[in-house]
């Protein structure tokens, strides 16, 4: 614990991208947010906490890079972002882990990674509200939660469960991003109101996005990235 706090000491803000539901765009938003912040001159770290389905390295097209060692582990910079992920060590192989094991991996990553002076550490969380989320709450006291959802009833319901929990235990919630909007609906905005948290705006469904995965330069030029920049203005 003392070691972990020391490692996180020089980080100004920790933004945890969560959703409860899977496939709502957490990884794409977390990574795009990192790219945008980095382009603006901030020093940015990105921690991929989805050990069963890491995605940030794919979006950033991180290939042939490894962390360097030296009194700890220093994550490599990819397109200006210090990315930490289990993928450096397991590649494309499966990493089946039970809960306590997930907790151990997370603790270990926090204890050995040297982020150095960092303006923003973006944490890309997996779906659910299990081991990883409970450990972020327990171990990263600086964490501010950014909620991502789609306007689908199934996503909204699962997201609500998570938000209720976060509000109950009084961790900072930055607000809700509505992602993959196809047609206009007020559902997300109304739910945000009902939960008494900020509605941060929407990101449209972008049919060209798939072609920009693994190409950060193109990704930054999409309508998706423009939408994400608008969200950033509000946060």
């Amino acid at each position: 614990m003392a070691t972990i706090n020391k490692r996180l000491k020089d980080i100004k803000r920790v933004i945890v991208v969560v959703g409860g539901k899977g496939g709502v765009g957490k990884s794409l938003i977390a990574t795009t947010l990192s790219l945008v912040l980095s382009k603006r001159g901030h020093s940015v770290g990105l921690l991929d906490l989805d050990f069963h389905g890491p995605s940030c390295h794919t979006i950033l097209d991180a290939k042939g890079v490894m962390p360097t060692e030296g009194e700890g582990i220093i994550p490599p910079e990819i397109h200006g972002i210090k990315l930490m992920s289990v993928v450096y060590y397991v590649g494309e192989k499966p990493l089946p882990l039970r809960g306590t094991e997930i907790s151990n991996v997370f603790t270990e990553l926090l204890a050995i990674t040297k982020w150095g002076r960092t303006d923003y550490l973006i944490v890309d969380a997996p779906p659910g509200m299990g081991e990883e989320i409970l450990d972020v709450i327990r171990l990263m006291k600086k964490g501010e939660f950014l909620i991502v959802t789609t306007p689908s009833n199934l996503a909204l319901k699962t997201m609500s469960r998570l938000v209720k929990l976060l509000l109950e235990i009084r961790v900072p919630v930055l607000g809700i991003v509505e992602n993959m909007r196809i047609t206009k609906t007020k559902l997300t905005e109304e739910l945000a109101k009902g939960l008494d948290i900020k509605y941060l705006g929407y990101v449209s469904f972008d049919y060209n996005l798939e072609g920009c995965i693994s190409n950060p330069k193109k990704l930054l030029k999409t309508k998706f990235a423009d939408n994400v920049k608008n969200i950033l203005k509000v946060v």
């Binding site: 003392a2 060590y89 151990n104 050995i112």
Partner: protein, 135 residues
């Protein structure tokens, strides 16, 4: 070598325990090293000695002891130890487990039934076994 990070962790544990016990001086610390992680003892000792300079642990002796790594399969209940593991680990695989012991679940399988669903029952990580203090 992230042995430095491990040494930092051990040092902060020793200091916390010593404080709890109201120690005036910490004469010795016994440190257990789980074999799963294959920690380099020389680097660890160098790191420790370097990091404790000008701290209350400057004169503390350290004793390093090893603990063999044991696994237990959740599928067939077999227990086995690392040295018995049939699929010998390559350099990169060892390296991965060196950093994060749980990555064993990518590279090690139960030698009887092939399951990746096993527990590391002993020999994981590094920890302070006990300390000798003066009050």
């Amino acid at each position: 070598m992230h042995e430095w990070a491990l040494a930092e962790g051990v040092i902060s544990t020793i200091l916390t325990v010593a404080k709890k016990k109201d120690a005036k001086e910490i004469t010795e610390a016994e440190i257990k090293i789980g074999c799963l992680q294959q920690i380099d003892e020389n680097i660890f000792t160098t790191a420790f000695r370097e990091l404790v300079k000008h701290t209350p642990l400057e004169k503390t002796k350290i004793k390093l002891k090893n603990e063999e790594a044991y696994f237990k399969c959740r599928t067939c209940e077999l227990e086995w130890n690392l040295t018995n593991t049939t699929n010998a680990l390559g350099r990169e695989e060892s390296e991965a487990i060196h950093f994060i012991p749980e990555l064993a679940h990518t590279f090690i399988r139960c030698p009887r039934c092939g399951s990746p669903d096993f527990a590391v029952t002993r020999g994981r990580g590094i920890w302070v076994e006990h300390i000798k203090i003066l009050k």
